[in-house]
């Protein structure tokens, strides 16, 4: 694992500060606006269709686990699926959740049980609907494809980390005519989802999903903070490009961790601290 460069230290602290400030502002009653995201609005439509057809829904949180690489993505997927389960429970729908990582089963069970309770139908939750299939990619894909075809699910929700199995799952859903909503940070799989699914959540919309669906002030505040950070990054990119073009690559060098006065100064702090220590 790498360690933070001086630029990373400053930038990450700044990002954290911006996000926390906006979270606190939202918690203190400030109302923020989030634009409409069609893919997330379609969740209600997909759940409603399943209720009309009297068929279950199927959700997959992908191949990610609780590790450093995919942990946040998977927990976000689980949060989205919890919201879907809450909506589904209001109609008395079953939601099937095939799993790859067994360590996520207790968390998924607890989240969905809570979601069904929030939806006012705790008795509609069944433990057996959350099933561990396999921790092998294609065995999992085969299992999910089988469930889609056997249960003739009305809607399929695919959120999380996906690899080559994405198309196997999405094409099977498409084949049986299920409404499919997908969202993944795995950029290489987005084209497959666009080709096979009805609605796709692209890019950082994935991380905005819980805020959009629940409208909780804390989450909405974090999303606004996130957008401010994006604006800051874009400004730095523009400024860096202009300055580099003018022969003054200060912004570029700072983030590339090359010797410039500010970076020198920041480098000298830990060295001085070590000498002092």
């Amino acid at each position: 694992m790498d360690h933070a460069t001086p630029a990373a230290r400053i930038f990450l602290v700044l990002v954290a500060a911006i996000v926390i400030i906006f979270v606190l502002r939202a918690q203190n009653g400030k109302i923020f606006f989030i634009r409409r995201i069609p893919g997330l609005t379609a969740i209600d439509e997909a759940v409603g269709r399943a209720a009309e057809m009297g068929r279950p829904l199927l959700a997959s949180i992908g191949l990610g686990g609780l590790n450093a690489t995919t942990g946040v993505i998977t927990l976000q997927a689980l949060a989205i699926v919890s919201f879907i389960a809450e909506t589904a429970s209001k109609f008395g729908n079953r939601i099937l959740l095939p799993m790859v990582d067994p360590s996520l089963i207790p968390i998924a069970e607890e989240s969905l049980r809570e979601a069904y309770a929030k939806g006012g139908r705790p008795e509609a939750f069944h433990d057996e609907d959350i099933i561990f299939l396999s921790d092998q990619q294609f065995a999992y894909a085969a299992g999910v494809a089988g469930m889609i075809n056997r249960e003739k699910v009305a809607s399929v929700f695919l959120f999380g980390t996906f690899y080559a199995e994405s198309l196997i799952i999405a094409e099977n859903g498409n084949r049986i005519g299920a409404i499919q909503v997908a969202g993944t940070p795995s950029t290489t799989q987005i084209p497959f989802f666009i080709a096979a699914c009805d609605y796709v959540i692209i890019g950082d919309e994935y991380y905005a999903a819980t805020a959009y669906l629940t409208r909780q002030p804390t989450l909405v505040g974090a999303i606004v903070g996130q957008d401010i950070v994006k604006g800051l990054v874009l400004t730095l990119i523009l400024l860096g490009a202009i300055l580099s073009s003018a022969g003054v690559p200060m912004v570029h060098n700072f983030f590339a961790d090359k010797a410039v006065p500010l970076a020198d100064f920041l480098h000298s702090i830990p060295a001085a601290a070590r000498k002092g220590g």
């Binding site: 927990l75 919890s82 067994p102 198309l167 080709a195 989450l219």
Partner: protein, 262 residues
Amino acid sequence: MFTPQHDGMLLVLILVTMIVTGILLFLLSFLPVKFRKPLIAAITFLAGLYYVLEFFLPVDAAKSNALTPYRTGFAQINQVLLALATGVGIFSLFSAHGRAIVRRRSGWGFSVTLLVAFFAIMISGFIHNYFPGPVADGIYRLCFNGALKNLQAAMFSIVSFYIVSAAYRAFRVRSVEATILLASAFIVMIGQVSLGQAITAGLPTTGLAASFRLETIADWILTRINSPALLAVELGLGVGLLSTAIRLWLSLERGSYFDREV
């Protein structure tokens, strides 16, 4: 951080850990509901704090700081927790398929096949490791190389057929966007193969005319249009990931997990 133990000592340590963990979990079950969420938040914060400090603290010439030596130990704790969870997965698998067999649900034969395959692979793996011999090795090779690997390869090969059907739907000319997609995809695909490159092989390789060679246009689409768009998506994802990680670390993600129960 920890010295690896073997033989009897390892068994004793495992037993002690299990007993201590059991007592801890038993005591935690008596914790009043209102204290559970703060406890979970505190443990989450402390666990994350280690990695944050280890990342941020200045490092010496060997790229190490005061917390770096403990990194392997923390990673091992994580591995142990994940290994324990495998039992949960096996229980879930047996419970779901056992029920299907007992209740003679539709397709219960598949559940029987799954459980038979499960035990066949598990037992052959154990025999292969602990009592190696020609028969055990043969069964092991049959299960893993003969069956499992080929079945996985078969599933992977299915992707190529699905790509064709998905591409057909995506490239159908229904709108301006689909037409642009089709044209770009056609140029990129044909520009990558020698047959496509042969079409414009008569054009010079330097100067303005070289820009109209199919491989140049394909490369331009990939590096000047596709890559920046992908980088922009990844920039948004990176910032979103960071923001979500902060929310989770500081337990600000209320309502998604355990809001009412704990």
